[in-house]
Amino acid sequence: MIIQVKNLEKYYRTDEVQTIALNKLSFEVKEGEFVAIMGPSGCGKSTLLNIVGLLDEVDAGSFVFKGQEVAHYSERQRARLRKHNIGFVFQSFNLIDELTVYENVELPLIYTGVKPSQRRLQVEAVLEKMQITHRRNHFPQQLSGGQQQRVAVARAVVHNPKLILADEPTGNLDSSNGNEVMQLLTELNKAGTTIIMVTHSEHDAQYSHRVIRMLDGHKVTENIMA
């Protein structure tokens, strides 16, 4: 089991109001699984993804990542765990505009302390795999949306993480580019990477093994895909 979440709670507070984003949510993800999380806007999908991605803190409940209870980890501990184990793919790509394709993809390797010569090998390999080697010296704004998302996926996988978290990865893409990205994710999953994907798209959800549906911070249903 890579992820075990039990009675997870998360609140957002503004000056006077407290909103419950996750309400006693429990679920598990096995290693090598491809799980899609669906639900209407505001149901807590992204919050869940941020917590699972160790970006956000938990207010209550248990979160076991690779056998370790991490619910009360400090920001520093979470950052260390995150950089070695998790890759992110966002709807809006979130590439750094001031860095080239190559440099964007290289970034996770820098943070995990990989030596430059090794970095070069890994980056070149993943660029080739994503078929964007010819764009290696371009800046994000010089690429199409599909190309940018490929770069984002390349960046997410370059350091071989155990888990990829994808937040509506095709949300900003046309269907053809969207399908390409889903193909990429599926291939990565087949190669052994666990994937959790938040999506509004039933079409994209079909690529997953299991769909968790949420409403108001609860898990409503859980369907195994055919």
Partner: protein, 800 residues
């Protein structure tokens, strides 16, 4: 990683050219100012570094008490030498008696030069470490020897070997050149010394010096010492403290205390008040050091403000980096590396600015500083300076930017909070408070200098020249020259005096008069003059009459200034006598007061005029001819006529003269230099602040583009929008005024009390500083505000 930081920094810089320019230019100016000030300070603190034994060299000083008030100075009596050698000699490697700086005529054949130098004992050569490049190191032991600087030797002898040659000194003494010393470089106490003559020669050829050998009350000499290794200045000072008190019976009433004034303090800590050292030039070091730091701080504030103002643009990157596993310290390092990068670029620009501005800076400051490229300490300082600046400018933005929560920023909902701009506002207020305080400070300094310059001097200094007449050739020729100069038509009046018009060379005590209070310890400025002095100077008589050749008794006449009358507490002074307290054989004849003149400013223009006795010079003790130029002729014509006359009578002597008004202006030179430098730095400080304001205004205008568009659609005019955008900055600047004005008033009020003759701090200074700051603010931000307000609302709304 580092490479990655610098890549990002460089790309951010090149993509945001206006911000980059503001940042780099502002920092470069700030750093250039700080570097120039650093060079200036370095030059000041290395004054006298030429002397390798400077840690152990001192000058003997004396504190005496007159009427309960302590006065301190370097003038010591001649018998001190013997007492020091006999009783305390084992504390010193050298005890050197010295004259004050002397101006001599040095003649070899038809070459006659007027040069400055010293008469001192032979130990001076070893003590001060003068480099003898030719001849005998002990060359001052023979009383008829002279040592010349390389330059002087070359001017007198050309390529010929000067050693062993005899030159005529002051047209009177034949002296043999025994050594040539290496030219003394600038920036030390003796950098004007072009010749050295033996103390013995000086003492033997001046009767008054010979007479002073047993006279403890005649403080007319200097003494330099080198203490032995292992001794401290303090302990030796303690030892020699009572020497004069113990030896000089007649001086006990003045409670003389001798002490060592260490060479390292001569230049920077040369002022004494009530027997205590109260600093001196060191104050200017603090002043400029503070200005330098403030200017640098202003530039760093710009960097901080612009970096944090643009935080929303950098937020996404922070979020992504954190998501990818960057820890906060890594981000802090990244932003610090960025500021280091920008500071390094600014430093390069600053170095260019410094190199280019050094000639003007030297002219303004009266220095000859240069960048010490070859000194390792310079590079260490530069490196530290870069690191400190980068840290100062970069630490707040680094901490602020690295604190962003990745979840919020990547959601795209990040907006800096309501109070996010508060630190920026505080920094802008700090910046303008400093700038306004600098403006006020500079205005007060300038007003004080102006006030002193316009002080009534009590005589007419325009069209007046003085000719130094130190040479024996002039002896007994005053009347002849007086007639000759007047006849030449180049001068309408002439007088002779012992001191130059803008200085007093002698002080005397030991006088009594009718009504003098018991125990009153008098001390007068003593100026020996010829009959024509008051009239040629244009002194204004308030009582009595001028000297007159018609009264033979005027050889014992004295004219007082008004301060002397008050000081002596004498009523109806004219006709009264001033007598020598000494009633023995050597007593001077009584002097009859024949007139009182308005105070004549001869010494410091910042201090009250000292009680002065203008005494008729019976013994021809004349060192200067003072000539009033003929107002009906041009200055050039007058000078030609005077020179012709001079050359007719003294063909072998160089004709040299000084304009009295120029000499008087020299009294303000140090303060004027300080004021000019402060003014330049203030202008640059204001420029840096405005640069920052300009950047912030453009940021605010950019941030509020949508709001401006909506307001325009709803009917707002350009002036409405201008006011909206400008109001906040104006309020901040006004707040700065409220902070700066009382602080500046307090500091400058304190500063100005050090001048006895001082101006008041007028209200207009604050009004003009305030209006100036407000005007500059409006000017700076209006450009951005009007540009934003005149934009097409359709475009700005579509952009959204």
């Amino acid at each position: 990683m580092i490479r990655n930081y610098f890549i990002i920094a460089w790309r951010n810089l090149s993509r945001n050219k206006v911000y980059s320019l503001i940042n780099i230019l502002g920092l470069a100016i700030g750093m250039a100012v700080t570097m120039l000030i650093g060079l200036w300070i370095y030059d000041e603190i290395t004054y006298n570094d030429y002397f390798t034994k400077s840690e152990r060299i001192a000058q003997v000083y004396q504190t005496q008490t007159f009427n309960g008030k302590k006065g301190t100075g370097p003038a010591i009596p001649r018998p001190l030498e013997a007492a020091m050698r006999e009783d305390y000699g084992n504390n010193f490697n050298h005890i050197v008696m010295s004259s004050w700086q002397q101006t001599y005529y040095l003649q070899n054949g038809d070459k006659n030069l007027r040069r400055d130098g010293h008469a001192w004992q032979n130990g001076a050569i070893d003590m001060f470490g003068f480099e003898i490049i030719k001849g005998d190191r002990n060359g001052l032991e023979d009383p008829n020897s002279i040592m010349l600087s390389e330059n002087t030797a070359e001017e007198l002898f050309g390529d010929a070997d000067p050693i062993g040659k005899v030159i005529k000194v002051n047209s009177e003494h034949d002296m043999m050149v025994t050594a040539i010393f290496r030219n003394i470089p600038e920036n030390n106490t003796f950098d004007e010394v072009e010749f050295m003559v033996p103390w013995q020669h000086y003492a033997d050829t001046n009767e008054w010096i010979a007479n002073a050998l047993q006279h403890w009350g005649n403080n007319s000499f200097q003494m330099f010492v080198e203490i032995k290794e292992g001794k401290t200045m303090e302990e030796v000072s303690q030892l020699i403290g009572p020497v004069k008190y113990e030896k000089a019976e007649g001086e006990k009433e003045y409670d003389p205390v001798m002490f060592l004034h260490p060479m390292k303090d001569w230049y920077l800590r040369g002022d004494f008040e009530n027997g205590e050292n109260i600093g001196g030039r060191i104050e200017n070091l603090w002043l400029f050091g503070t200005i330098g730091l403030f200017v640098l701080l202003l530039a760093c504030i710009n960097f901080m403000n612009l970096s944090t103002a643009r935080s929303e643009k950098r937020a996404k990157e922070v979020g992504i980096r954190k998501t990818l596993g960057s820890e906060r310290p890594q981000l802090v390092r990244q932003f610090l590396a960025e500021s280091l990068f920008i500071v390094m670029l600014s430093y390069l620009l600053a170095m260019i600015m410094v190199q280019l501005s050094i000639p003007s800076f030297n002219e303004l400051s009266g220095k000859t500083v240069e960048i010490p490229w070859g000194e390792p300490v310079f590079w260490i300082c530069c490196l530290s300076f870069i690191l400190i600046t980068a840290f100062l400018a970069g630490s707040y933005p680094a901490l602020y930017l690295s604190s962003f929560n990745p979840v919020t920023v990547l959601k795209g909902t990040f907006k800096a909070g309501r109070y996010a701009s508060l630190p920026r506002k505080v920094l802008v207020v700090t910046q303008f408070s400093i700038s306004v305080a600098l403006i006020i400070g500079t205005l007060v300094v300038m007003k004080q200098i102006d006030h002193s310059k316009n002080r009534p001097v009590g005589y007419n200094k325009e069209g007046l020249i003085q000719i130094p007449v130190f040479s024996k050739d002039f002896e007994g020729k005053y009347d002849l020259m007086h007639e000759a100069f007047l006849r030449s038509g180049g001068a309408v009046a002439m007088s002779g005096s012992m001191s130059p018009v803008t200085s007093v060379w002698s002080n005397r005590s030991g006088w009594t008069w009718e009504g003098k209070q018991e125990g009153f310890q008098e001390d007068f400025a003593w100026v020996e003059v010829t009959h024509e002095y008051p009239s040629s100077m244009g002194l204004i008589f308030t009582d009595g009459r001028d000297f007159s050749r018609e009264f033979a008794s005027d050889s014992n006449a004295v004219i007082l200034n008004e301060t002397a009358v008050r000081y002596m507490g004498i009523k109806d002074p004219v006709g009264k006598l001033i007598r020598d307290e000494d009633t023995g054989e050597e007593a001077q004849e009584p002097m009859k007061i024949i007139g009182v003149v308005k105070d004549m400013v001869m010494q410091s223009a910042y201090k009250p005029v000292k009680q002065t006795l203008f005494v008729f010079s019976k013994e021809g003790n004349i060192n200067y001819y003072n000539l009033r130029l003929n107002p009906e002729k041009s200055v050039k014509e007058n000078l030609e006529l005077i020179e012709q006359t001079f050359k007719t009578h003294f063909p072998a002597l160089p004709f040299q003269f000084e304009f009295v008004d120029e000499n008087y202006a020299l009294k303000f030179r140090a303060e004027e230099r300080i004021a000019s430098l402060a003014a330049v730095f203030t202008v640059l400080a204001i420029f840096i602040s405005c640069l920052g304001l300009f950047g912030l205004a453009s940021f605010v205008a950019e941030q509020r583009t949508k709001e401006i568009g909506i307001r325009k659609v709803l009917g707002a005019s350009v002036s409405n929008l201008w006011l909206m955008l400008s109001r906040e900055f104006l309020l901040l600047v006004m707040l700065s005024l409220l902070i700066a004005i009382p602080i500046a008033y307090y500091i400058m009020q304190n500063w100005i009390t050090k001048f006895d003759y001082r101006t008041n701090i007028s209200w207009w200074i604050f009004i003009s500083a305030g209006l100036g700051a407000i005007f500059l603010t409006i000017f700076t931000i209006s450009f951005q505000a009007v540009r934003a307000a005149s934009g097409n609302p359709v475009k700005s709304l579509r952009d959204e």
